[in-house]
Symmetry: C2
Subunit: 87 residues, 2 copies
């Protein structure tokens, strides 16, 4: 099996209200040495065996562009590995 980890994050220029809210809440809890906080999403896709790496890369890019990442606000990167699902 081929496992692809996709990391989706907001673009630098985009303000992430969720991250801001978490950072302020952490400040109120006394964790005031955190100078920046970013929130992102991960998708771990497990592909069936018979696909080539090129085919998988092509599909992953398509899947990210069409569904997993909002092109206007987010960017993505991915890592391909042939081991079992990474814990």
């Amino acid at each position: 099996m081929t496992v692809v980890k996709v990391f989706v994050n907001y673009k630098e220029s985009i303000l992430n209200p969720e991250a801001e809210a978490i950072k302020q809440a952490l400040g109120r809890l006394g964790y005031d040495d955190i100078i920046d906080l970013k929130v992102g999403k991960t998708f771990e896709l497990t592909f069936a065996d018979q696909l080539s790496h090129d085919k998988i890369e092509h599909e992953v890019n398509e899947i990210c562009d069409r569904m997993l990442a909002n092109f206007n606000m987010e960017n993505y990167r991915y890592e391909i590995s042939d081991s079992e699902a990474i814990q």
Copy 2:
């Protein structure tokens, strides 16, 4: 600066409806060679300079237990690095 990447994922025993919905949607779009899909969150915390690794590890565990991960449904792991924020 010290950057800590926290990865929060659902425990294996927990059904993730969001992941199921995405997997089915991908199937309808013709991507039927995906045999498993997991969805998780990443938090990238940037700590101020003067903290020791032990202090940071202690704080990260506390922050995850208290806020970033739901102990009942999720588990977390983290990576500490001293470089600039990883893209």
